[in-house]
């Protein structure tokens, strides 16, 4: 044994030339690879926070919008103008300047009125025709007209919104079966459609103007700036795309800062711990190289993945900075498989599990680079920790140590059991990242108009525009059950057009009602009861005009055409039409109802799945990680006691982190999974890193180096990242606490006390002996 140790030491002090050549070669290969990979395929930086959503649910195609609000600070004094007039003027000016870049967000009010006047009778479903027939009977019509006259003697008739001109027989309620079925036409929601199809908020002085998806943003901003200069308004670009761009700008500013902070913190702490600047520079440099080799192939650098990239870089620094003698293969494998439990998720939010191979590959490369530098590293290592055999056995064997360990474990698990009774799940779409102004804009749109992320789409296909539009009422019909409890409203051309087969059947049915004659009677009744029949001409003329059909062609040529085209797109010679529903909220209990009627798409669907599956996913992840760490520890040490100890420390760390996130009311959702797993894996790894009590300081340093990622995140000031940073830092502190203060006691207790442990110390485990073989003798 001694001779072996001596020869090993001799080799390390004087590394062979072959090793130096291998080191240079591998370093050069890694360097060339990273430069080539980063130059040919630079890492993607994105401001989107929907990377956990299924690709098909992401709102990439949703158009941006212009939010116009009255600037009260400029509309004061003698020059005060009526907000309505300002908004009307601004809307007209923007429409004139934007031209084709603008799209109606709602069916224009005048176009809808004209459409209903002309085609109202056709739009009534056949099931309502018996009731229409009853209302067209002479006695019924006389009673209806008399009731209108009677109601006119009420002071609140007009102010209350009663307007019998367009519907003297109260037929429209038959047309508007459910509130919200005809977009903004039949509902008194937060907003109403203007004459040009913009949305006007009811409660605030603001206007929302839709933009085409391919609108030139620079031109739009230029127009907005010009208009806001001449009128007392503030104009902002809003919508998912605009929000993503704002976040991207912010992210691009923060990335250098966070990288600099992380690397500086790593450099300083490694230099301090190892008392060597060379070590620090080498560790940080090789870490950057390791990450750079795989960054182009990893997930895009967005607000949700940047914390993981930081943690990966910090973990590489920690691996490369530690003295070679103080690590075990088991610990490295645990660290490399930190994110492997993500495989257990049925719903794969983490970008198709790309992290599952990027993380271990980077760690493996870091370990490989470290192996290349083994000789150099160990030649300069300052290891003044005495080996296990030199430690006083009393310290390890004390009863208080074991009792303390058990007590800490029990306390943590008890607190976790009490705290985790109830927690609120926050979906990834709620992740807080961005400027306060951007968040305020998002809230303003949600409050005054609609919640964009709650909009889901149902799609139908066809070969031509007319075909898909003609069929749209049929594809919309089963979806209408969502209106009411699940959805506020539906935006769909299917509410306004009729397919050919339905047109024919309705025409036949309407002919049986003998409408021409009945409308003639109604005209007489109106005159007889003192009404001016011309005042009801929109209804009287429209009801008798059955030669004009509400078909796809007429709809596209009418004032509704521009709005209808918003729902139609062409993909690979297929014409696709969308029906858009605004859900009341993203409640997972809606999912069975929604999926029963169709195949919905939209961020809301992914959000609901994410929230619904959160608890099951969390349980799966934690159990998988516990099993994995226990298994790896057992496989590397062949000691069940050590395996159980590692598992217990991991479980304790995870429980403590969950307690923190719950009590501090952090956003608890799928974005937190990797952070939890990293904390758990670190707890398992640092328990295994050095089984010797006297080498405990390296456990602490390992966590300090990793925690530099958390500290760098904290410094950014972004709420979401601060939560991530705090969780990671806290988890690592708890991990090292468990490794240092709980693991020894538990392991001894499991080993059967002092005597058993003493026996073990005389016959060390394979892993410990392996480590001891590699140890450098104290200098």
């Amino acid at each position: 044994m001694e001779s072996s140790s001596a020869s090993t030491s001799a080799v390390r002090r004087d590394p062979p030339r072959a090793l130096a050549l291998l080191r240079t070669l591998s370093l050069a290969c890694a360097l060339v690879w990273s430069i080539w990979a980063n130059s040919t395929r630079p890492p993607v930086v994105s401001g989107a926070v929907d990377s956990l959503h299924a690709e098909i649910d992401r709102a990439r195609a949703s158009p941006s919008m212009l939010l116009v609000r009255i600037d009260a600070s400029r509309n004061i004094g003698a020059a005060t103008q009526d907000p309505d007039r300002i908004l009307d003027r601004v809307a007209v000016r923007i429409a004139d300047e934007l031209l084709e870049a603008r799209v109606p967000l709602a069916p224009p009010a005048a176009a809808v009125e004209g459409w209903l006047d002309t085609h109202g009778m056709y739009l009534l479903p056949i099931s309502s025709h018996p009731r229409v027939s009853r209302r067209l009977e002479r006695e019924e019509m006389e009673a209806s007209v008399a009731a209108i006259r009677a109601r006119l003697s009420s002071p609140v008739h007009g102010v209350g919104g009663l307007n019998p001109r367009r519907d003297p027989l109260s037929l429209q309620p038959l047309l508007f079966g459910e509130r919200g079925a005809m977009s903004y036409v039949d509902m008194d929601g937060r907003a109403m459609a203007t004459g040009t199809g913009d949305l006007r908020a009811r409660r605030t002085e603001s206007l929302l103007i839709g933009l085409r998806g391919d609108a030139d943003e620079t031109r739009v901003r230029g127009i907005a700036d010009r208009v806001s200069e001449s009128d007392p308004v503030r104009i902002d670009l809003v919508g998912v795309q605009a929000q993503d761009k704002m976040r991207l700008t912010l992210l691009e500013g923060l990335l250098p800062k966070i990288a600099l902070l992380l690397l500086s913190a790593g450099l300083a702490t490694v230099a301090f711990a190892r008392r060597s600047t060379t070590h620090a520079l080498r560790a940080v440099g090789l870490s950057i190289l390791s990450v750079a080799c795989f960054a182009p192939f990893g997930p895009s650098m967005d607000p949700l993945s940047i914390p993981i990239w930081c943690a990966l870089l910090a973990t590489c620094i920690a691996i490369l900075a530690r003295p070679r003698a103080r690590e075990s293969a088991g610990a490295l494998v645990i660290l490399a498989t930190s994110l492997t439990p993500l495989l257990a998720l049925t719903h794969a939010p983490w970008q198709h599990m790309i992290w599952i191979w990027i993380w271990p590959a980077t760690i493996t490369l870091a370990v490989a680079l470290r192996l290349c530098f083994r000789g150099v590293s160990d030649a300069h290592a300052r290891d003044d920790d005495p080996p296990l055999a030199n430690a006083p056995p009393e310290a390890l064997a004390s009863f208080s140590t074991r009792a303390r360990s058990v007590a800490i474990c029990l306390c943590v698990f008890l607190i976790a059991a009490l705290t985790l009774q109830e927690f609120e799940v926050a979906p990834s779409s709620d992740f807080e990242f961005g400027s306060a102004h951007a968040r305020e804009l998002e809230r303003a749109v949600a409050r005054d108009f609609f919640v964009e992320r709650n909009v889901v789409r149902f799609e139908s296909e066809g070969s031509t525009v007319n075909e898909v539009l003609d069929r749209s009422p049929l594809t919309l019909k089963p979806l209408r059950v969502l209106l009411g409890d699940v959805a506020n409203r539906v935006d769909s051309p299917g509410s306004f057009v009729l397919p050919g087969e339905l047109l024919e059947s309705r025409r036949r049915s309407l002919r049986t009602l003998n409408i021409d004659e009945k409308i003639g009677d109604l005209r007489e009744i109106l005159q007889a009861q003192g009404f001016r029949d011309e005042a009801f001409n929109e209804f009287l003329n429209g009801a008798t005009e059955l030669r004009r059909f509400p078909d796809a062609k007429a709809a596209l040529e009418s004032g509704l055409g521009e709005w209808i085209r918003r729902f139609i797109r062409t993909e690979d010679d297929r014409v696709i039409l969308s029906h858009e529903f605004e859900l009341r909220r993203t409640d997972p209990t809606f999912l069975p109802i929604i999926t029963q009627v169709g195949t919905p798409r939209g961020a809301a669907i992914s959000t609901m799945i994410e929230v619904r599956d959160f608890e099951a996913s969390l349980a799966k992840l934690l159990l998988t990680q516990l099993w994995l760490i226990t298994f790896i520890t057992w496989a590397s040490s062949r000691s069940l006691n050590q395996a159980i100890t590692s598992g217990l420390c991991t479980a304790g760390t995870l429980a403590a982190v969950l307690v923190l996130t719950t009590t501090a009311r952090f956003s608890m959702g799928a974005p937190l999974f990797p952070i939890l797993l990293i904390c758990g894996a670190t707890a398992g790894a640092v328990t295994r890193i050095d089984p010797e009590v006297s080498g405990a300081k390296w456990k602490s340093w390992f966590c300090v180096w990793q925690a530099s990622a958390g500290l760098a995140l904290l410094s950014t000031g972004q709420a979401g990242w601060i939560e991530f940073g705090l969780t990671l830092t806290f988890g690592l502190v708890v991990a090292v606490g468990f490794a240092r203060f709980v693991a020894p006691g538990i392991e001894q207790m499991l080993a059967g006390g002092t005597r058993a442990r003493a026996e073990e110390s005389s016959a060390p485990t394979s892993d410990t002996s392996a480590t001891n073989v590699e140890q450098e003798p104290p200098q």
Binding site: S153, V156, G160, D188, R532, A535
Partner: protein, 226 residues
Amino acid sequence: MKRREVCRLLMRCSGLAGGALAIFSAPAVGAPATTKLERRLELWRVYARRNQRLVARYRSTRRTSLLKEPLYQSGTLLFEAPGRLVLRDDTIDGSTTYIDESSARIIPNRDGKDHEVVLDAGRDSPALRWILTKTLALFAPGDGSTIENAASLKAPRGRVPTLEILPLKKRDIRVRLRALIVTLDPASGAISSILIQESQGDEFRVELSDHRQDVSAADFQKLMDD
């Protein structure tokens, strides 16, 4: 001689002082507008103070482009503080309107149940909510703050005391309602007429007479049940 000069000087000084007084008191000339409004509100307060239960007769006129001729009705107004108002037309061709703070019900006197309309003054009907609040506040005892709230109050010139209540510049109210004009009795302060000017040009005027204030609860209930 000296005495005359002193007298002249005194006269000049008094003239200057008078001029100064006139100048400094000039802003008071603009005050009558406010004073007039205050006076009229005070007049109304005196009347409304005793309106715990009010019964009055009315004659209503609706001018609308829907009808060839104005629509005249007469009926009984019943008000119980703080927020219950009923306008019951006398004839079978008329209707009965029940008003409270949150809704209005219009029931035609003939076939009422079949053609009853309930207007909910919820969040989405600001114009209706505004008119209901103001109408109830006009009859209820109070200091007038409810009338002034979310409205612009004016006292137009003229011998007949009139209050013009305009909704503030809110599109969702003004899209339906232009103004509410209330005429008071110069002696008693009783509301003699209410004119509702709708945005589309229609007008509804109700002229009140035979005010019976502080009607006993039993009598009031009897009138309500009739």
